[in-house]
Subunit: 210 residues, 2 copies
DNA sequence: ATTGACGGTATACACATGTATACACAACGA
DNA sequence: TCGTTGTGTATACATGTGTATACCGTCAAT
């Protein structure tokens, strides 16, 4: 059973609560977690062998959240050139409503624990693959080869995750973060359409439109 | 005087030594640092008021390193469409030869301390500004408006810093990281040249070249 | 009805941590 | 020459930490 209940759930949720703002997963203490969860320190051992295992469980706990959030990304792809404004807004709103999970993900993706880094990386790559295959299936950018779509998807997932952190922390910049994200994605795909053109060819194209 | 000497320098260098691999700046302890530096724990107080101040000093210490490294980025920009392979290689080699500074930067940019995050962000933005103004001055991508060049520069600096971490940690992927970085940059700028075209116009352009 | 697992608790130990106070000594300007 | 300033040290204290051992109720299965 992968579903968390009782004390185990309490501990994981306590971890998420503690992390927001000024903490990181790897900095949490066993006693600290138990205290926040309202449990005896030793109860921790009933559920986790050590803090590393706890960290992995937390990642697992937020994994579905993240997945469902990233799944919304596909909508954005579906309309990247038209209604992308609304869909990017939607994705960021999702992250905004899950600040703890977002913070954990961003922080541990570049954090000190190689174990957690690898785990998160695998999750992000899986999401990126899903996003890419969806774009390919729907033939949204048929002028771009599949491998390139995968590459851009990986970059986009990471970019959005990182900007989501800014989005949460800097309410006054939310609109511009949104717009920058849209431009980022459009430029990647549009640029990729010209991958096999030479520099001079691209320049002449650009100038012919001025 | 901003130059570090004696015990203060020892402590900062001890911090950099400890951080590599599995630590973060904010996780370092006062006694731990003194131990690594071969000093008495209390000597720490002679140089720093608290650990936050220590963190800022470390950032200051690596700031010139980072700056000079990022300054090399301009070379890449100068030849982004031609010899970019060699220049990106050069930049990553630079990060590779400063693994501690790179690790600190990546880790604290998304780390738990808002103070350090803001400080690093300011440094990166300054570097991005420098890079952008250089590109503008040399008229390397004259088809792209200045504000867009600034925006892409900010994205690029962050992208390269994060990939530099991968570059250091995954020797077998170095070549592909390099190539992906080149494509990232080219696509951003090429895509930006088409910013004011509609989706259908871009598609017809792409198809006309197949 | 007994057993055993499960989740939770209490107490205790050895150790590390940040910090305060006080001491030592070299360099140097008055 | 004396006092001050800068740098380093020793000792000590309260607190927090991970962990070990042992105890206790609940509940399900035998």
């Amino acid at each position: 059973m992968n579903v968390l209940t009782g004390g185990k759930l309490k501990l994981v949720q306590a971890g998420l609560r503690l992390i927001t703002e000024t903490r990181s997963l790897t900095s949490l203490g066993l006693r600290e977690l138990a205290r926040e969860a309202g449990l005896n320190p030793n109860t921790f051992y009933r559920h986790f062998k050590n803090l590393d295992e706890f960290g992995l469980q937390v990642l697992g706990y937020i994994a579905e959240d993240m997945k469902s959030g990233v799944r919304e990304l596909r909508r954005m792809a579906a309309s990247s050139e038209q209604a992308s404004h609304d869909t990017v807004t939607f994705v960021y709103r999702y992250f905004q409503s899950n600040p703890a999970a977002t913070t954990v993900a961003v922080r541990e993706l570049h954090g000190p624990s190689p174990l957690l880094r690898r785990a998160l990386e695998a999750q992000l790559n899986a999401s990126a693959r899903e996003m890419a295959e969806d774009i390919i299936d729907r033939q949204l950018v048929s002028a771009v080869p599949p491998e390139t779509i995968h590459e851009i998807s990986r970059m986009t997932i990471r970019y959005i995750l990182i900007r989501a952190m800014d989005y949460i922390e800097k309410p006054e910049q939310r609109e511009s973060i949104q717009l920058e994200t849209e431009r980022f994605i459009n430029r990647q795909f549009r640029g990729a359409m010209l991958d096999n053109l030479s520099q001079t060819e691209v320049e002449s194209l650009a100038q012919s439109r001025v």
